[in-house]
Symmetry: C2
Subunit: 188 residues, 2 copies
Amino acid sequence: MSRTLSIALVHHPVLDKQGSTVTSAVTNLDIHDLARSARTYGCASYFIVHPVAAQRDLVARICEHWTYGSSAQRIPDRKEALTLVKPVPTLDDAYASFGGRDAVEVWVTSASAVRTPVSVAAARPLLEGEGKPVLLLFGTAWGLLPETIRAADLSLAPIHAAEPSGFNHLSVRAACAIILDRLRGDRS
Amino acid sequence: MSRTLSIALVHHPVLDKQGSTVTSAVTNLDIHDLARSARTYGCASYFIVHPVAAQRDLVARICEHWTYGSSAQRIPDRKEALTLVKPVPTLDDAYASFGGRDAVEVWVTSASAVRTPVSVAAARPLLEGEGKPVLLLFGTAWGLLPETIRAADLSLAPIHAAEPSGFNHLSVRAACAIILDRLRGDRS
């Protein structure tokens, strides 16, 4: 028995290179890759947070194509992953689906350490046993806002190689996969 | 001191859904994501194996755009990753860059276990110390051919969640990231 784990990919508010708050565009392979990783590691939901209705509609149409359309016949396993996808306008809407902000534990992942981080290895046992559902936030573009990170319940430490490479620019598709594997992967 | 690790993304020969041998198309985000993961985990080279010259030229043009073009100014760290990319026509050409097939240890990753696999955890210490360079092959489409897997020196076991989810369809971008992290990630 372990706690329910969900993920959210945030397109707003996120930072751009200059540190301004922006809204990023939906990327098709973010929908697929994070859904496939979420399904592999037993996540309950994959929220795609986007304030623009046309972008949420695009996400819904892509998921529909793979769940009911011609691609559902061609690659049937994909629908199992994409049924986890829930487009929502804001993070508050994602929280609301758990019963509100107080009903969910929000974990953030951030390439830079804005606050005291917990290593993913130390966070892994926290998912065992009883407890609130956990929602793991990933930022697009240049990442989540400092205030989003500060408002979270836990901040996961950045991912590094054992021999430091001085390079910390994984794609969000790679970072999500690695963090889910570190939290929930088999260790045999 | 550890052995040199490189990766190769194979577009031919790979399997399609029906088990026929096919050639897959280059996917832009495969170039970026695997290069960024390779750079993060200190890989020496990232070979993109494609028999079609126009596809290799496309890879080279994309890398050039991010190494010397306008995007090199916009996201300078990307060039550090993309300079690892080496488009080659065949796997033999990748082997030749090490001095031939006998000069390199070929490891395969495969979602299905065609031969007796070694867990990634058991393979990790094999990268320590002295030894031939290791080249880790990833297949696109429905994966590497059984003969490619049999001809390898080592086959890594498929990735699973600790609590089996019955779903084993990670994207190659996610699978490569997870395997590099399991082989070379920090364990603190």
